[in-house]
Symmetry: C2
Subunit: 164 residues, 2 copies
Protein backbone atom coordinates (compact mmCIF):
# COMPACT_ATOMS: atom_id res chain seq x y z
CA UNK A 1 0.00 0.00 0.00
CA UNK A 2 1.30 3.42 -0.99
CA UNK A 3 2.94 5.56 1.67
CA UNK A 4 0.58 8.35 2.71
CA UNK A 5 1.45 12.05 2.59
CA UNK A 6 -0.98 14.28 4.45
CA UNK A 7 -1.44 17.73 2.94
CA UNK A 8 -1.21 20.57 5.44
CA UNK A 9 -2.68 24.06 5.01
CA UNK A 10 -0.35 26.22 2.93
CA UNK A 11 1.40 28.90 4.97
CA UNK A 12 4.33 31.15 4.14
CA UNK A 13 6.31 29.80 7.10
CA UNK A 14 5.87 26.14 6.23
CA UNK A 15 6.56 26.77 2.54
CA UNK A 16 9.61 29.01 3.10
CA UNK A 17 12.20 26.29 2.32
CA UNK A 18 10.69 25.88 -1.15
CA UNK A 19 9.67 29.36 -2.21
CA UNK A 20 7.03 32.04 -1.74
CA UNK A 21 3.33 32.03 -0.99
CA UNK A 22 1.68 34.74 -3.08
CA UNK A 23 -1.10 36.23 -0.98
CA UNK A 24 -2.14 39.51 0.61
CA UNK A 25 -2.22 38.19 4.18
CA UNK A 26 0.89 39.28 6.03
CA UNK A 27 2.44 41.00 2.99
CA UNK A 28 4.22 44.34 2.97
CA UNK A 29 1.72 46.80 1.49
CA UNK A 30 1.28 50.50 0.85
CA UNK A 31 -1.32 52.72 -0.83
CA UNK A 32 -0.92 53.92 -4.43
CA UNK A 33 -3.09 55.86 -6.90
CA UNK A 34 -4.10 58.60 -4.45
CA UNK A 35 -5.14 56.07 -1.86
CA UNK A 36 -7.61 54.24 -4.13
CA UNK A 37 -5.46 51.13 -4.35
CA UNK A 38 -3.38 49.01 -1.96
CA UNK A 39 -0.25 47.43 -3.37
CA UNK A 40 0.92 44.17 -1.72
CA UNK A 41 4.47 44.40 -2.87
CA UNK A 42 7.10 42.00 -4.16
CA UNK A 43 5.46 38.71 -3.19
CA UNK A 44 7.62 36.37 -5.27
CA UNK A 45 11.29 36.21 -6.17
CA UNK A 46 11.34 35.67 -9.93
CA UNK A 47 14.57 33.87 -10.86
CA UNK A 48 15.83 33.42 -14.41
CA UNK A 49 19.29 32.23 -15.39
CA UNK A 50 21.15 30.55 -18.23
CA UNK A 51 21.53 31.59 -21.87
CA UNK A 52 18.76 33.79 -23.27
CA UNK A 53 16.89 33.72 -19.97
CA UNK A 54 13.88 35.97 -19.61
CA UNK A 55 10.66 35.86 -17.59
CA UNK A 56 7.34 35.15 -19.30
CA UNK A 57 3.68 35.19 -18.31
CA UNK A 58 1.47 32.30 -19.41
CA UNK A 59 -1.90 30.77 -18.50
CA UNK A 60 -2.38 27.12 -17.51
CA UNK A 61 -5.82 25.59 -17.73
CA UNK A 62 -5.82 22.24 -15.95
CA UNK A 63 -8.31 19.47 -15.44
CA UNK A 64 -8.88 18.57 -11.78
CA UNK A 65 -7.30 15.62 -9.99
CA UNK A 66 -9.01 13.12 -7.71
CA UNK A 67 -8.07 12.53 -4.06
CA UNK A 68 -6.20 10.66 -2.84
CA UNK A 69 -3.61 11.76 -5.40
CA UNK A 70 -1.28 9.05 -6.67
CA UNK A 71 2.04 10.93 -6.83
CA UNK A 72 4.38 9.19 -9.24
CA UNK A 73 6.85 11.94 -10.10
CA UNK A 74 8.20 15.38 -9.36
CA UNK A 75 10.11 17.83 -11.52
CA UNK A 76 12.37 20.84 -11.20
CA UNK A 77 13.62 23.71 -13.34
CA UNK A 78 17.33 24.36 -12.97
CA UNK A 79 17.24 27.74 -14.73
CA UNK A 80 14.33 29.50 -13.11
CA UNK A 81 11.60 29.90 -10.54
CA UNK A 82 8.01 29.07 -11.43
CA UNK A 83 4.98 30.83 -9.98
CA UNK A 84 1.36 29.64 -10.18
CA UNK A 85 -1.42 32.03 -9.22
CA UNK A 86 -4.98 30.67 -9.36
CA UNK A 87 -7.65 32.67 -11.15
CA UNK A 88 -10.25 31.07 -8.92
CA UNK A 89 -10.58 30.50 -5.16
CA UNK A 90 -10.74 26.73 -5.58
CA UNK A 91 -8.24 24.56 -3.69
CA UNK A 92 -5.24 22.87 -5.26
CA UNK A 93 -2.45 20.65 -4.02
CA UNK A 94 1.13 21.83 -3.73
CA UNK A 95 3.71 19.04 -3.51
CA UNK A 96 7.41 19.72 -2.95
CA UNK A 97 10.46 17.69 -1.94
CA UNK A 98 13.71 18.57 -0.23
CA UNK A 99 16.72 17.76 -2.37
CA UNK A 100 19.62 15.57 -1.30
CA UNK A 101 22.51 15.38 -3.74
CA UNK A 102 20.21 15.75 -6.73
CA UNK A 103 17.56 13.30 -5.54
CA UNK A 104 14.18 14.34 -4.12
CA UNK A 105 13.55 13.18 -0.56
CA UNK A 106 10.15 12.37 0.96
CA UNK A 107 7.47 14.76 -0.41
CA UNK A 108 5.67 17.39 1.62
CA UNK A 109 2.17 18.37 0.56
CA UNK A 110 0.17 21.54 1.13
CA UNK A 111 -3.41 22.50 0.41
CA UNK A 112 -3.63 25.94 -1.18
CA UNK A 113 -6.94 27.72 -1.00
CA UNK A 114 -8.69 31.08 -1.16
CA UNK A 115 -6.63 32.35 -4.06
CA UNK A 116 -3.19 31.62 -2.60
CA UNK A 117 -0.46 31.42 -5.22
CA UNK A 118 2.92 29.73 -4.95
CA UNK A 119 6.34 30.44 -6.40
CA UNK A 120 8.74 27.49 -6.56
CA UNK A 121 12.32 28.60 -6.13
CA UNK A 122 14.74 27.75 -8.95
CA UNK A 123 15.66 24.05 -8.95
CA UNK A 124 13.06 23.07 -6.32
CA UNK A 125 11.44 19.64 -6.73
CA UNK A 126 7.68 19.98 -7.10
CA UNK A 127 4.66 18.13 -8.39
CA UNK A 128 2.75 19.20 -11.47
CA UNK A 129 -0.13 21.64 -11.20
CA UNK A 130 -2.88 19.82 -9.29
CA UNK A 131 -6.21 21.61 -9.04
CA UNK A 132 -9.03 19.89 -7.19
CA UNK A 133 -12.79 19.93 -7.74
CA UNK A 134 -12.99 21.49 -11.22
CA UNK A 135 -11.10 22.71 -14.28
CA UNK A 136 -9.05 25.69 -13.11
CA UNK A 137 -6.95 28.41 -14.70
CA UNK A 138 -3.69 29.72 -13.27
CA UNK A 139 -1.31 32.49 -14.21
CA UNK A 140 2.24 31.17 -14.62
CA UNK A 141 5.31 33.38 -14.23
CA UNK A 142 8.38 31.42 -15.22
CA UNK A 143 11.46 31.39 -17.39
CA UNK A 144 12.01 31.07 -21.12
CA UNK A 145 15.39 30.77 -22.82
CA UNK A 146 17.84 28.23 -24.13
CA UNK A 147 18.98 25.02 -22.45
CA UNK A 148 17.09 22.11 -20.91
CA UNK A 149 15.10 23.64 -18.06
CA UNK A 150 13.22 20.49 -17.00
CA UNK A 151 14.41 17.60 -14.86
CA UNK A 152 11.98 14.83 -13.91
CA UNK A 153 12.24 12.22 -11.17
CA UNK A 154 10.04 9.14 -11.02
CA UNK A 155 9.59 7.51 -7.62
CA UNK A 156 10.16 3.77 -7.19
CA UNK A 157 6.64 3.54 -5.79
CA UNK A 158 3.90 6.19 -5.90
CA UNK A 159 2.94 8.13 -2.79
CA UNK A 160 -0.69 8.68 -1.86
CA UNK A 161 -1.43 12.32 -1.05
CA UNK A 162 -4.49 12.95 1.08
CA UNK A 163 -6.24 15.91 2.63
CA UNK A 164 -7.52 15.41 6.16
CA UNK B 1 -17.04 70.44 -21.29
CA UNK B 2 -14.41 67.71 -21.14
CA UNK B 3 -13.41 66.04 -24.38
CA UNK B 4 -14.93 62.56 -24.58
CA UNK B 5 -12.96 59.37 -25.09
CA UNK B 6 -15.08 56.34 -25.95
CA UNK B 7 -13.71 53.04 -24.63
CA UNK B 8 -13.62 50.26 -27.20
CA UNK B 9 -13.56 46.52 -26.46
CA UNK B 10 -10.01 45.39 -25.67
CA UNK B 11 -8.48 43.28 -28.43
CA UNK B 12 -4.92 42.16 -29.05
CA UNK B 13 -4.88 43.87 -32.46
CA UNK B 14 -6.08 47.24 -31.21
CA UNK B 15 -3.79 47.14 -28.18
CA UNK B 16 -0.68 45.97 -30.09
CA UNK B 17 0.97 49.41 -30.26
CA UNK B 18 0.96 49.58 -26.45
CA UNK B 19 1.66 46.03 -25.32
CA UNK B 20 0.07 42.63 -24.84
CA UNK B 21 -3.41 41.39 -24.01
CA UNK B 22 -3.07 38.45 -21.63
CA UNK B 23 -5.82 35.98 -22.51
CA UNK B 24 -6.30 32.45 -23.76
CA UNK B 25 -8.24 33.42 -26.89
CA UNK B 26 -5.99 33.26 -29.92
CA UNK B 27 -2.88 32.37 -27.90
CA UNK B 28 -0.26 29.80 -28.86
CA UNK B 29 -0.99 26.76 -26.68
CA UNK B 30 0.08 23.18 -26.18
CA UNK B 31 -0.71 20.35 -23.77
CA UNK B 32 1.48 19.62 -20.74
CA UNK B 33 1.27 17.25 -17.76
CA UNK B 34 0.30 14.18 -19.76
CA UNK B 35 -2.47 16.04 -21.49
CA UNK B 36 -4.25 17.13 -18.29
CA UNK B 37 -3.31 20.78 -18.73
CA UNK B 38 -3.21 23.28 -21.61
CA UNK B 39 -0.48 25.90 -21.49
CA UNK B 40 -1.21 29.22 -23.22
CA UNK B 41 2.35 30.24 -23.66
CA UNK B 42 4.34 33.46 -23.40
CA UNK B 43 1.49 35.94 -23.36
CA UNK B 44 3.42 38.99 -22.18
CA UNK B 45 6.86 40.40 -22.87
CA UNK B 46 8.27 41.20 -19.42
CA UNK B 47 10.83 44.00 -19.76
CA UNK B 48 13.21 45.09 -17.02
CA UNK B 49 16.17 47.41 -17.47
CA UNK B 50 18.38 49.80 -15.52
CA UNK B 51 20.54 49.22 -12.45
CA UNK B 52 19.46 46.35 -10.20
CA UNK B 53 16.51 45.56 -12.43
CA UNK B 54 14.51 42.43 -11.68
CA UNK B 55 10.89 41.35 -12.20
CA UNK B 56 8.53 41.08 -9.24
CA UNK B 57 5.01 39.77 -8.64
CA UNK B 58 2.64 41.87 -6.53
CA UNK B 59 -1.10 42.15 -5.87
CA UNK B 60 -3.09 45.37 -6.30
CA UNK B 61 -6.44 45.70 -4.58
CA UNK B 62 -8.25 48.73 -5.97
CA UNK B 63 -11.49 50.50 -5.23
CA UNK B 64 -13.74 50.91 -8.26
CA UNK B 65 -14.10 54.07 -10.32
CA UNK B 66 -17.31 55.70 -11.54
CA UNK B 67 -18.18 56.31 -15.18
CA UNK B 68 -17.70 58.63 -16.91
CA UNK B 69 -14.08 58.58 -15.73
CA UNK B 70 -12.45 61.97 -15.34
CA UNK B 71 -8.97 61.29 -16.68
CA UNK B 72 -6.53 63.87 -15.34
CA UNK B 73 -3.17 62.14 -15.75
CA UNK B 74 -1.21 59.28 -17.22
CA UNK B 75 2.09 57.76 -16.20
CA UNK B 76 4.86 55.62 -17.66
CA UNK B 77 7.73 53.46 -16.40
CA UNK B 78 10.99 54.02 -18.32
CA UNK B 79 12.71 50.93 -16.89
CA UNK B 80 10.11 48.21 -17.31
CA UNK B 81 6.88 46.76 -18.56
CA UNK B 82 3.91 46.44 -16.22
CA UNK B 83 1.29 43.71 -16.42
CA UNK B 84 -2.09 43.67 -14.68
CA UNK B 85 -4.08 40.44 -14.58
CA UNK B 86 -7.49 40.58 -12.92
CA UNK B 87 -8.40 37.97 -10.32
CA UNK B 88 -12.06 38.47 -11.19
CA UNK B 89 -14.04 38.63 -14.43
CA UNK B 90 -15.23 42.17 -13.72
CA UNK B 91 -14.56 44.89 -16.30
CA UNK B 92 -11.94 47.56 -15.98
CA UNK B 93 -10.78 50.46 -18.11
CA UNK B 94 -7.44 50.49 -19.90
CA UNK B 95 -6.24 53.94 -20.96
CA UNK B 96 -3.10 54.45 -23.03
CA UNK B 97 -1.58 57.30 -25.05
CA UNK B 98 0.77 57.38 -28.02
CA UNK B 99 3.95 59.29 -27.24
CA UNK B 100 5.26 62.20 -29.25
CA UNK B 101 8.66 63.50 -28.21
CA UNK B 102 8.07 62.62 -24.57
CA UNK B 103 4.53 63.99 -24.39
CA UNK B 104 1.40 61.79 -24.36
CA UNK B 105 -0.97 62.44 -27.24
CA UNK B 106 -4.77 61.98 -27.19
CA UNK B 107 -5.69 58.97 -25.02
CA UNK B 108 -7.21 55.76 -26.30
CA UNK B 109 -9.45 53.78 -23.98
CA UNK B 110 -10.35 50.10 -23.91
CA UNK B 111 -12.81 48.10 -21.87
CA UNK B 112 -11.23 44.89 -20.58
CA UNK B 113 -13.55 42.11 -19.49
CA UNK B 114 -13.89 38.36 -18.89
CA UNK B 115 -10.52 38.07 -17.19
CA UNK B 116 -8.42 39.78 -19.87
CA UNK B 117 -5.10 41.04 -18.57
CA UNK B 118 -2.87 43.72 -20.07
CA UNK B 119 0.87 44.25 -20.23
CA UNK B 120 2.02 47.81 -20.85
CA UNK B 121 5.26 47.90 -22.81
CA UNK B 122 8.20 49.68 -21.16
CA UNK B 123 7.78 53.48 -21.26
CA UNK B 124 4.17 53.37 -22.51
CA UNK B 125 1.87 56.11 -21.23
CA UNK B 126 -1.10 54.61 -19.37
CA UNK B 127 -3.74 55.48 -16.84
CA UNK B 128 -3.77 54.06 -13.34
CA UNK B 129 -5.54 50.79 -12.59
CA UNK B 130 -9.26 51.49 -13.07
CA UNK B 131 -11.62 48.69 -12.07
CA UNK B 132 -15.33 49.28 -12.46
CA UNK B 133 -18.32 48.06 -10.44
CA UNK B 134 -16.55 46.76 -7.29
CA UNK B 135 -13.29 46.47 -5.36
CA UNK B 136 -11.06 44.23 -7.47
CA UNK B 137 -7.73 42.47 -7.08
CA UNK B 138 -5.11 42.18 -9.81
CA UNK B 139 -1.79 40.41 -10.12
CA UNK B 140 0.97 42.83 -11.12
CA UNK B 141 4.15 41.71 -12.88
CA UNK B 142 6.54 44.64 -13.10
CA UNK B 143 10.06 45.83 -12.39
CA UNK B 144 11.94 46.57 -9.20
CA UNK B 145 15.40 48.08 -9.03
CA UNK B 146 17.22 51.35 -8.64
CA UNK B 147 16.47 54.61 -10.41
CA UNK B 148 13.27 56.63 -10.85
CA UNK B 149 10.90 54.34 -12.72
CA UNK B 150 7.86 56.64 -12.69
CA UNK B 151 7.07 59.61 -14.92
CA UNK B 152 3.70 61.36 -14.59
CA UNK B 153 1.95 63.69 -17.02
CA UNK B 154 -0.99 65.88 -16.04
CA UNK B 155 -3.30 67.03 -18.82
CA UNK B 156 -4.21 70.71 -19.17
CA UNK B 157 -7.85 69.66 -18.98
CA UNK B 158 -9.29 66.31 -17.94
CA UNK B 159 -10.74 63.94 -20.52
CA UNK B 160 -14.05 62.17 -19.93
CA UNK B 161 -13.83 58.44 -20.62
CA UNK B 162 -17.12 56.71 -21.34
CA UNK B 163 -18.29 53.22 -22.26
CA UNK B 164 -20.97 53.03 -24.93
Amino acid sequence: MAERIIARPLTAAAFAPYGDVIEKDGAHHFPINNGKCMRYHDLAKVETSGPGAHPIVSIASSEPYELPLSLTMVERHPFGSQAFIPLTDRPYLVVVCPDENGTPRRPEAFLAANGQGVNYRQNTWHGVLTPLEAQSDFIIVDRAGEGENLEEFFFDAPYSVVVE
